[in-house]
Assembly symmetry: C2
Homo-oligomer: 320 residues x 2
């Protein structure tokens, strides 16, 4: 007899949490939580759908992991401290092995950031995973605080998620990468790093931030629109991984500017805080790259290798 | 050109909220909220999937309405005060008229309970609606506090959701009901009432509670299992609507015991609180029916019309 909804919950998703602020976790109609005094509450939700956000043959472990990352990345974009997660899982059928792997990937990411799974829902339907993250904030980052003259930074390297997707879809010749490189690429897509630690480190000095889930240009544009400013980017300064560098430069740049699924942060910093940022970089070993600055004129200008202005007719991933 | 994700959000889901505890609502990476001091936070999530939870031709207005009800009903089960909702919507394509109707149904239910839509997500996929409700609690109801000797109560009438579904699927002869009755039935399925007000009224006196979303027997069993007790029910005392009464009695009873989608509350009450409950009933005009009591022996016994014990081999809706 296949497992029912309640057996799935108790078998794979009900674990005692170490967090003392979980008064009642998985297993009742609501989770009962104790938010800390004097902090605001942050909440965000995100969904991964089969065929649209992942291939049907994506290993369940990585699906579980990534379903947490996509929500954590939104928490990072605001500089919040994640605490509790809810999971809503729609499944076409019940496969114990698959569920075991999904649950392991999910808890692996939750444990890495000291987050408790506090509730959720399991129902029949096309494969779809919705996670809702709750956390706390102080000195929040938002999209609408970018100031003219701010420097624009990103964490990590850009375009690897898009390159990985193109590689898996055979749009990039196999011979470009050896097996180490293709494995590394796969992990950039399957197991991206939510920049929670970096966000907590910069939240006192940065002005505005967003996570790059749909592509640098489209996500930066949200900051610009919300702050009523524009930006000029220096294409040469956009950080490429060694793997992305193997593509022709313009193709790599296109990936870095317009492909989604990187989950890096983009933030703006007042020039007087550059030294503070360098200290953080050195102390924790984080990688921050200054890729441009905020200016008054609306829109995004991109300076190419020779200082000429480039034009892009596509700006990133769009859901419809 | 079809609307994109961000245009859909601003056109249909971004409204200024009257709630002062919403510091930042729809439109950034996270919602920023200000929970009240001294209360615990309650969270719950629920999903409605096409074909599994609703017919493809269900009017969008009712889908929007009901997607709020299913989460609110979980909040009611704990005696919480709902405050904020997140919506994750997966759509196969964009239909402005459909979205407008969905949004009207959603806000209609939110407004009725003074809840703010504070965030969410829209992506491409099979039609699926996940809502996450956040609220506050004091004197919470839970599943594990039922005591031997407690009386078992339900709100409203049971079985109408199941009857409505059977009627729409032509499993019940059309001639059973006139057009008023069939319209009433349809509304019981499409626009059920989340028992938030009733839950807030009883939370100081009831011991345990759950909402009846999967069927009385299966949901009551959750209380019994969590509280390590059993129950004896009096079939004659189970409240039937006038419409359900038109079925042969045993068929009606079967609906009332095992069909889901009613969203009534089931709660247990210490006998010394019966007078308090009567006062609440009279003051607010709520309908509470005592249908049995909690006993030591595990399991659920059901006494029939002549006092004989009935047996049921099915106990409610199961997702797999």
């Amino acid at each position: 007899m296949p497992l029912g909804e309640f057996e799935i919950i108790t078998s794979y998703f009900q674990r005692t949490s170490k967090r003392k602020d979980v008064l009642l976790g998985v297993g009742d109609d609501c989770a009962v939580l104790s938010p800390p005094l004097g902090k605001t509450l942050l909440v965000s939700t995100d969904t991964l759908n089969i065929d649209e956000h992942f291939f049907p043959d994506t290993p369940a472990y990585y699906l579980g992991y990534k379903s947490v990352v996509v929500s954590l990345s939104d928490m990072a974009a605001m500089g919040g401290e994640p605490a509790w997660l809810l999971l809503s899982l729609s499944l076409p059928d019940v496969n114990s092995n698959w569920l075991e792997n999904l649950s392991q990937g999910l808890f692996s990411c939750l444990d890495a950031f000291n987050i408790a799974l506090v509730g959720g829902n399991i129902s029949k339907g096309n494969l779809s995973i919705t996670t809702t993250i709750l956390g706390f904030g102080e000195h929040l980052l938002s999209r609408n605080k970018a100031q003219i003259g701010d420097l624009i930074y990103v964490t990590g390297t850009l375009g690897d998620g898009g390159l990985s997707l193109a590689f898996l879809k055979n749009e990039i010749p196999r011979e470009y990468f050896d097996s180490n490189e293709s494995n590394w690429l796969k992990m950039r897509l399957f197991k991206p790093i939510p920049r929670i630690h970096e966000a907590l480190a910069i939240r006192g000095i940065a002005n505005a931030a967003i996570d790059i889930s749909d592509g640098l240009l489209i996500d930066l544009r949200h900051i610009l629109d919300a702050s009523s400013v524009g930006a000029i980017l220096n294409a040469k300064a956009i950080p490429f991984s060694n793997v992305l560098k193997k593509l022709p430069w313009e193709q790599g740049l296109n990936m870095a500017l317009t492909s989604g699924d990187d989950y890096e942060l983009c933030f703006t910093l007042p020039p007087e805080k550059v030294e503070d940022l360098k200290e953080i970089e050195q102390k924790f070993g984080y990688q921050f790259s200054c890729i441009g600055c905020i200016e008054k004129e609306p829109g995004i200008k991109i300076k190419g290798q020779g200082g000429e202005l480039l034009s892009f007719n596509k700006d990133g991933y769009r859901h419809f």
